[in-house]
């Protein structure tokens, strides 16, 4: 078991290393000079070169890579070219806004998804099951950008009960926060609901058909108890990992949601940084997003390794 855990950790480190190399070199082979973008077309060649020198952009790529990656370990994430300030500072300024939208979205999607999935599995084949399946198919297919715009039209333009766009955090008063964030939270959670519903439904169906559930029923335990105490508990383990992996979806979705609702969070930062070739911000953000995903996968693998010894034999 210890050997297995060490192996999984090493594998995760390899993946993280590959992400860092991939993100770094992909950003650097993009056509377009970030310094030129920041200084504008009128800037003289000397000015551009001076700034490139200052930011170490004229160094060989390999040494730039090592400078960046060693900075990650010491908490120095480099300088943002667009803002001329430490990238870490800018990211941590923007992060709370994305979290204040993303976290409620994740929680709502999880609760709704688990409820929908459980109901649909327990009432398998019923009208309710078909309706919920249809609902999750619809929510999976709904383009985030479209539903956002539609909701703005209905609630802000026609009914005038919610603001069109903008951002108010929890510190600006709970009512304001609620008014400004309800639409973005809904849009962001929509695609996630579908994934979690499907996962819960599949797992619940797997578990319900197993012998120990039949035994529990045969022993005369009430249906409620069978579902909540025995089935759901076991079905939820893979669902929780699915939820943890949604962090990636939240960040991806926030690029679109923040664009529509004009929220100055990580999503908007990433979009403008990709356009401005702001290497440090894009590389560092992508690195940390992947780190979260890889870490979640690692935890899942180790948990599964505990449950199923067969998995421990898997190769590299």
């Amino acid at each position: 078991m210890v050997k297995f855990i060490i192996k999984r950790i090493l594998i995760s480190l390899v993946i993280v290393f590959m992400v860092s190399v991939f993100a770094f070199f992909l950003m650097h082979i993009l056509p377009g000079d970030p310094v030129r973008i920041v200084l504008g077309d009128e800037a003289s060649v000397e000015d551009v070169n001076a700034l490139r020198e200052e930011l170490h952009l004229n160094d060989p790529l390999i040494s730039q890579y090592f400078k960046w990656i060693s900075g990650i370990f010491t908490g120095d994430y480099g300088t943002s070219i667009t803002y001329m300030r430490p990238a870490g500072e800018i990211i941590s300024e923007r992060l709370p806004k994305t979290v204040s939208i993303g976290l409620p979205a994740l929680i709502i999607a999880s609760v709704v998804g688990i409820v929908f999935g459980t109901v649909s599995a327990v009432r398998r084949g019923s009208k309710l099951d078909s309706a919920l399946t249809l609902l999750s198919t619809l929510s999976l297919g709904t383009p985030t950008f479209w539903i956002g715009i539609l909701l703005i039209y209905v609630f802000a333009v026609e009914l005038r009960i919610l603001p069109m766009k903008g951002y108010m955090g929890p510190s600006d008063g709970l009512l304001q926060y609620f008014k400004y964030s309800i639409l973005p939270v809904f849009c962001l959670s929509l695609n996630m609901v579908a994934g979690i519903t499907r996962q819960t439904r599949t797992n619940m169906l797997d578990v319900i058909n197993q012998d120990y559930i039949r035994t529990a029923r045969a022993n005369g335990i009430s249906e409620k108890k069978v579902i909540f105490k025995h089935a759901l508990k076991n079905a939820l383990i893979p669902v929780i990992t699915q939820i943890a992996l949604q962090v990636r979806v939240v960040i991806g979705g926030s690029v679109i949601v923040e664009q529509i609702f004009n929220i100055n969070g990580i999503g908007m930062l990433l979009r403008e940084s990709i356009f401005n070739r702001d290497y440090m911000i894009v590389q560092t953000s992508v690195f940390f997003i992947s780190l979260v995903t890889v870490f979640c996968n690692l935890v899942v693998d180790i948990l599964y390794g505990f449950v199923n010894p067969q998995i421990r034999k898997s190769g590299w």
């Binding site: 390899v14 377009g32 297919g141 383009p143 439904r201 991806g252 992947s290 590299w316």
Partner: protein, 285 residues
């Protein structure tokens, strides 16, 4: 009595699912028809300025005209073509690249397989939208080919993972061992045995990624890194129309509605294909 109830219930399930599948199937056929015959179906070319701006729907302009006085109906017809070609192309690129990598990683043990599979994990840990936004900037112009490649590359890793799993499962089978003993070459084993056995799952995956690709393409076009305007892509039509939301909401709502319908239809048809061809994959893809 019980049998009668059972039969009724089964029929209801079948019917309930059937109606949706049939509607979606018809929609997909219609969509492909429109994509192919867009020039015959629309009265104007998608970039032609053909009248006053912001016209309301009428007999000549079924969906009205946009901010530049272009016929929205024609643009949506041509947009179907862009969506269809982009999704077909990107799914095909993802399929070919992903399958190749999966076959190689599955057949060869050790370092090669490790590098390919960890690279696949690495790609999958980056949000698809962010990965494709960065990839899109590799190209100067957002044409159908570059967008196809960008989305294809993003979709590639899920193919690699599935094919790799399938090959690992097949490796221990007697007929593979026999083929090796008879002295068949590596390429023969890969192309004659592994690849054909992956086909059912690959067809399923291909139909299931089509909807996904349409949704990614429209998101990229919405964010301004997909198909470059004035070529009519549904995503960029939504983002252009968003500016005039208060004045003429249909400009943004209508093209997006078609994205929704098309993605849902492709997903439902994909689910159906999966249930018929490879029921084991249910819930996994």
């Amino acid at each position: 009595m019980i049998d009668k109830m059972k039969l009724k219930k089964n029929l209801r399930v079948l019917f309930g699912r059937g109606v949706l599948s049939v509607i979606c199937g018809i929609y997909v056929v219609l969509f492909i028809f429109i994509a192919i015959f867009a020039p015959l179906l629309s009265r104007y070319t998608p970039t032609e300025f053909c009248g006053s701006k912001f016209l309301s729907p009428c007999a000549e302009f079924l969906f009205g005209t946009d901010a530049l006085g272009r016929d929205v109906f024609s643009r949506i017809m041509y947009g179907a073509r862009i969506s269809f070609v982009a999704s077909l192309l990107s799914s095909a690129i993802g399929l070919v690249m992903g399958t190749t990598l999966g076959l190689i990683a599955g057949y060869f043990k050790g370092f090669v397989s490790m590098v390919i599979m960890r690279f696949t994990d690495a790609i999958l840990s980056i949000p698809a939208l962010i990965l494709s936004m960065v990839l899109a900037l590799l190209f100067k112009e957002g044409g159908i080919l570059s967008v196809g490649f960008v989305i294809g590359f993003t979709l590639m890793s899920s193919y690699t993972r599935v094919v790799y799993g399938l090959v690992l499962g097949m490796k221990e089978n007697d007929y593979i061992v026999a083929a090796k003993l008879v002295g068949q070459s590596k390429t023969a084993i890969i192309f004659k045995h592994f690849l054909p056995n992956c086909f059912p799952s690959l067809i399923v995956m291909f139909t299931m990624t089509l909807g996904n690709a349409i949704s990614l393409e429209s998101s990229l076009s919405f964010l301004g890194v997909g198909i470059t305007p004035p070529t009519p892509a549904w995503g960029s039509m939504v983002s252009e129309g968003y500016k005039y939301l208060v004045m003429k909401p249909s400009l943004a709502i209508l093209p997006g509605l078609f994205v929704l319908l098309t993605v849902v239809a492709f997903n439902v048809v994909g689910d159906g294909v999966r249930d018929v061809l490879d029921p084991r994959l249910k819930g996994k893809l």
